[in-house]
């Protein structure tokens, strides 16, 4: 299992992989195009002429060298970004006109997935003291609005409106996720389709601004965003 750092030392993204100008020689299904030959242990290594690794580096500081991306993606990353507005502005700049973003954002309290909204009961200072500010606690509509502010066109969104199953050790039940169909995980195709499972009494226990949010918004455990930088 790959250890995932839950907190970031400064802000935003710390890892970026870039597939460099591979248009002429890379075709679908030909993994060898980006991997070097197997070594004497039978292991492949990346062709460093085609991949560049910028980590560790805050996402908003990624160099222009990372620009011109046709596809930008992340999984369970944007909830950790501390300066999301600056991050997405930089991501916009690094995206080629017409380029597409695919991001899944995990909106749960990462300390204990079985209590996914617990962190909404904490003030900013309490949360910072307890976790170092591991997650930015933005809700789905706020995340989506930041994409729009940065200049992206939203192409598609899907919401996870159920608490995902959790393994005995409190981590995500991976095999359940493998076996599930897409629509079984990202169940709501629009905000209006979110099934509100959070109750009024629970919402009343939250700090501002969450206590004034809709039950539907608070019931979103994750959001998948597909966005595009408009073609020039």
């Amino acid at each position: 299992m790959i250890p995932i750092e839950r907190s970031l030392p400064e802000s935003s993204c710390a890892l970026a992989l870039l597939l460099l100008g591979s248009r002429p020689e890379v075709t679908a299904g030909r993994l060898n195009a980006v991997c070097g030959p197997r070594d004497d242990r039978g292991m492949r290594t990346l062709d460093r002429e085609k991949f560049r690794v910028f980590a560790p580096m805050p996402g908003e500081e990624l160099p222009d060298e990372a620009g011109g991306a046709d596809l930008v993606f992340s999984f369970s990353v944007l909830e950790h970004v501390r300066r999301p507005r600056e991050f997405l502005r930089r991501a916009f700049e690094l995206t080629a006109p017409g380029g597409v973003h695919v991001h899944t954002i995990d909106l749960r309290d990462h300390r204990d997935f079985s209590r996914p909204l617990e962190f909404l009961r904490m003030t900013a200072d309490e949360y910072e003291a307890a976790t170092g500010g591991s997650e930015n606690r933005l809700r789905s509509c706020e995340q989506i609005e930041l994409f729009r502010e940065a200049g992206f066109e939203i192409l598609a969104t899907r919401w996870m409106d159920r608490v995902p199953s959790v393994a005995k050790d409190g981590t995500t039940a991976l095999l359940d996720w493998y076996a599930a169909r897409v629509e079984e995980i990202w169940t709501a195709g629009s905000h209006g389709e979110i099934h509100p499972w959070v109750e009024d009494s629970t919402r009343a226990s939250f700090e501002a601004p969450w206590r004034s949010m809709s039950l539907e918004e608070l019931s979103a455990m994750g959001v998948l965003v597909v966005a595009r930088r408009p073609a020039e």
Partner: protein, 105 residues
């Protein structure tokens, strides 16, 4: 079609997960034929197993990756193969070339 393909990929990933072996294991051959798009995915999974035995976590990423990529393709006209790709992560320890698995999509 996408749903069927996604389901097939999911079955492949499920079948691959128990085969995860310690670092150094080579070529955990799938029990049934894989063709076309799936072959690239499996090549990537095998490579990851070979590298560090981390296939369960990686497979989850691949699954999600494919969901997004496959869902994009027909609606948005995105061509994955040959695209210039930027992956953003939150780990300061880059270890897996997840991006390259897109080439199998």
């Amino acid at each position: 079609m996408l749903e069927a393909l996604s389901a097939r990929i999911a079955r492949l990933l499920v079948s691959a997960a128990p085969r995860a072996e310690p670092s150094g294991a080579q070529n955990p051959t799938p029990a049934f034929d894989v063709t076309g798009q799936e072959a690239g995915v499996f090549a990537g999974l095998n490579d990851l197993v070979n590298r560090n035995g981390s296939v369960p976590y990686s497979a989850l990423f691949v699954r999600r990756l494919l969901e997004g990529a496959l869902a994009l393709a027909p609606d948005c006209g995105v061509r994955i193969a040959g695209a210039r790709v930027l992956e953003l992560g939150s780990s300061p320890r880059p270890g897996l070339p997840l991006t390259c698995l897109l080439l199998g999509a």
